[in-house]
């Protein structure tokens, strides 16, 4: 089902979303002092119709980054005033409340990890989809309802006429995630943020949901920002990959290039920990240790305590994101030697 990945777009294709130096701080109870920086100087851009995967372990700041694009960062998180998030040249971070509301869902939509708790338990699936349509368009409820039915059909829900009036708890996990996708696509957004869309689901259902996403992307020309900890679902699906660690992007490349030549020790570690159906079992090597707490990022390179190739300068000097190939950058002192 993933045998025909879309061709990579030209690097000069029109940029839809541009994120520059995004920083998020956690403030203390009084709201004045920043006690942690879970996202620190993240920059990337998303072109029309492409898929960018943002990859990293939990706690690396990838979900916070995606929430910042809709200004949904929960307390105590605060987006740095110097950050820039522009959509079609318009700065999202300075929008007034009404323009922000009009943008959410309509330009950038979002699918969340846990489809059970992310759908409102007291409203039917249909009511929640119709609500998403009517938040952005003046349409009659019957017109919105028939569009909701079409969407449910499109995301592969059998018997949409019966399902539309069901409550989330009457559906299976995969079914709920399909409803979430239908709801996100209802206002016909340009960008879809999918935050771990399959993590809470069974393996077989995962594949089905990913297939739905792929199909809808090609039909609607969506740009997708795929947030995941699983490099396995990135291959053959994403055009480009940005690997995040401890609040920073540590490596960024075209998907093929990244898989062919993973350069950052962290990316190498992530790749080595993917279980493969082929090849010797001994290849499976998880990275030792865990992501540190944002309140105490290590000095120097933040990966150095877990890095198998650590050098002296890694402990004191933070590396910059350096070009190591065509469209390939990484944040590692090894880049200087190569």
């Amino acid at each position: 089902m993933t045998n025909t990945p879309p061709p990579p777009p030209a690097p000069t294709g029109d940029i839809l979303l541009d994120v520059r130096d995004l920083g998020i701080g956690f403030v203390d109870a009084s709201g004045t002092e920043t006690i942690a920086r879970p996202v620190d100087g993240v920059s990337f851009s998303l072109r029309r119709g492409e898929t960018l995967a943002l990859v990293g372990e939990s706690g690396c700041g990838k979900t916070l980054t995606s929430l910042a694009l809709l200004r949904l960062v929960p307390a105590p998180g605060v987006i740095d005033p110097a950050s820039r998030v522009t959509l079609n040249g318009r700065d999202i971070l300075t929008l007034d409340t009404e323009s922000l509301r009009a943008l959410r869902g309509k330009r950038i939509a979002m699918v969340f990890q846990d489809p059970m708790s992310s759908l409102n338990p007291v409203f039917t699936a249909g009511a929640q989809i119709i609500e998403a349509i009517r938040a952005h368009e003046r349409v009659s409820s019957s017109a919105a309802r028939s569009r909701a039915l079409a969407l449910l059909h499109e995301v592969g829900i059998p018997e949409p006429e019966a399902r539309i009036d069901q409550y989330p708890h009457e559906m299976s996990g995969g079914m709920r995630q399909r409803v979430m996708i239908a709801m996100a696509l209802a206002p016909e957004p340009d960008i879809l943020i999918a935050d771990e869309p399959t993590t809470a689901l069974d393996v077989t259902v995962q594949a089905q949901i990913l297939e739905v996403l792929d199909r809808l992307q090609s039909i609607h020309g969506l740009a997708i920002l795929l947030i995941t900890h699983d490099l396995g679902i990135v291959a053959g699906r994403a055009d480009r990959v940005a690997v995040m660690y401890a609040g920073k992007i540590v490596e960024e490349a075209q998907t093929e290039a990244l898989f062919a030549q993973p350069s950052h020790p962290y990316t190498q570690g992530l790749l080595a920990s993917i279980p493969r159906l082929t090849g010797p079992r001994s290849q499976l090597r998880p990275i030792g240790g865990t992501v540190p707490e944002p309140t105490r990022w290590p000095t120097g390179c933040r990966f150095h305590p877990r890095c198998p190739q650590v050098m002296d300068r890694c402990r004191s000097d933070p590396p910059e994101l350096l070009q190591i190939g065509r469209d390939h950058r990484m944040r590692c002192w090894l880049a200087e030697g190569s």
Partner: protein
């Protein structure tokens, strides 16, 4: 669903049976002569006392008395009031409308104002409004209703003469007064007792709704609602509130007994002609059949309230309904 309703109903009936036994035992095993009041009225001969005892069945062994009492309860006969010389059930029937009016008003006040204030507190969590209302509701919990009633009656009713502070109707109202005049008169009399009772009880609703709303606002589906471009008003008052209302509905059934229990002191202070003042007067009159009758009614309301809440919850909450 049906077996569940049957089971829940059986449980309610069993609880009522136990409560009935307890009420009888507490009353009859407590020290003191139930007829002391009657015998205190005037000197009585030994024969008169014996007649009285026979009349009230007090000459029988305890178990026979209990049989008589439960048989009466089943038939809807709660005995005869010593004070009023009338059947207790008739007294309760006469007093019920006034209590329903007062209790109903308080319930409506608590569940409109209280639910709204609690939700608003959750929306402004940690802000000045939230902190002040928390302190004020805590103070409401600490207010003795009889004292608040007395102070309000004194200040508003007597000193400033803004509202009537005694009874339910103006006895000087002309005989031919219209329905509207009478209704307005009752409404004016209702204000002080209803406000007093509400002030001391609304805090429970406010705090409960605040907690439920804080939980609802923290739920992941609220983030979904915001992400799809709903206005903040819709997110809060539709998506969060609809979820936060279910827990508060449990409280409604629990508050049902306020019709009798909450109003003992308030009705007494404002001479409101309801069940509460009936019970309060029965204390000073040592009118034990009335005390037993009102206690039984209070227990029935508590049990019915819990039963009703569970049922309504099952019918309204889609999660329970299909669960």
């Amino acid at each position: 669903m049906l077996p569940w309703i049957a089971g829940r109903t059986a449980q309610a009936v069993a609880t009522f049976v136990v409560a009935t036994i307890l009420i009888f035992m507490l009353m009859r095993l407590a020290p003191g002569d139930p007829l002391a009041r009657l015998m205190g009225d005037r000197p009585m001969t030994r024969e008169e006392v014996a007649t009285l005892r026979r009349l009230y069945g007090l000459d029988q062994p305890m178990i026979a008395q209990f049989g008589r009492f439960t048989y009466g309860v089943v038939r809807g006969d709660l005995g005869t009031s010593i004070e009023y010389r009338l059947p207790v059930t008739r007294l309760i029937r006469e007093r019920l409308p006034a209590s329903l009016l007062l209790g109903g008003t308080v319930l409506v006040l608590n569940f409109t104002l209280g639910v709204w204030l609690g939700a608003l507190q959750a929306v402004r969590l940690g802000k000045r409004f939230d902190r002040w209302l928390s302190t004020i509701s805590l103070a409401g919990f600490a207010l003795p209703s009889f004292w608040l009633g007395l102070i309000l009656a004194w200040l508003i009713g007597v000193k400033w003469r803004l509202l009537p502070a005694l009874g339910m109707m103006d006895p000087l109202l002309p005989q031919d007064a219209g329905a509207l005049t009478r209704a307005l008169d009752i409404a004016r009399h209702l204000v002080l007792p209803a406000v007093t009772l509400s002030v001391v009880s609304i805090a429970a609703t406010i705090r409960y709704q605040r907690t439920a709303m804080i939980d609802a606002l923290a739920a992941p589906f609220i983030r979904t609602a915001r992400a799809k471009g709903l206005s903040e008003r819709r997110v809060v008052w539709r998506h969060a509130w609809r979820n936060a209302l279910f827990p508060v509905m449990t409280l409604f059934g629990l508050w049902l007994p306020i019709v009798v229990t909450g109003s003992v002191f308030v009705e007494q202070v404002f001479s409101w002609p309801g069940l509460g003042s009936l019970a309060a007067n029965a204390i000073s009159g040592r009118d034990y059949p009335v005390i037993m009758g009102t206690s039984l009614l209070a227990a029935a309301l508590v049990i019915a309230g819990g039963w009703l809440t569970d049922l309504v919850y099952a019918v309204l909450d889609p999660r329970v309904r299909h669960g």
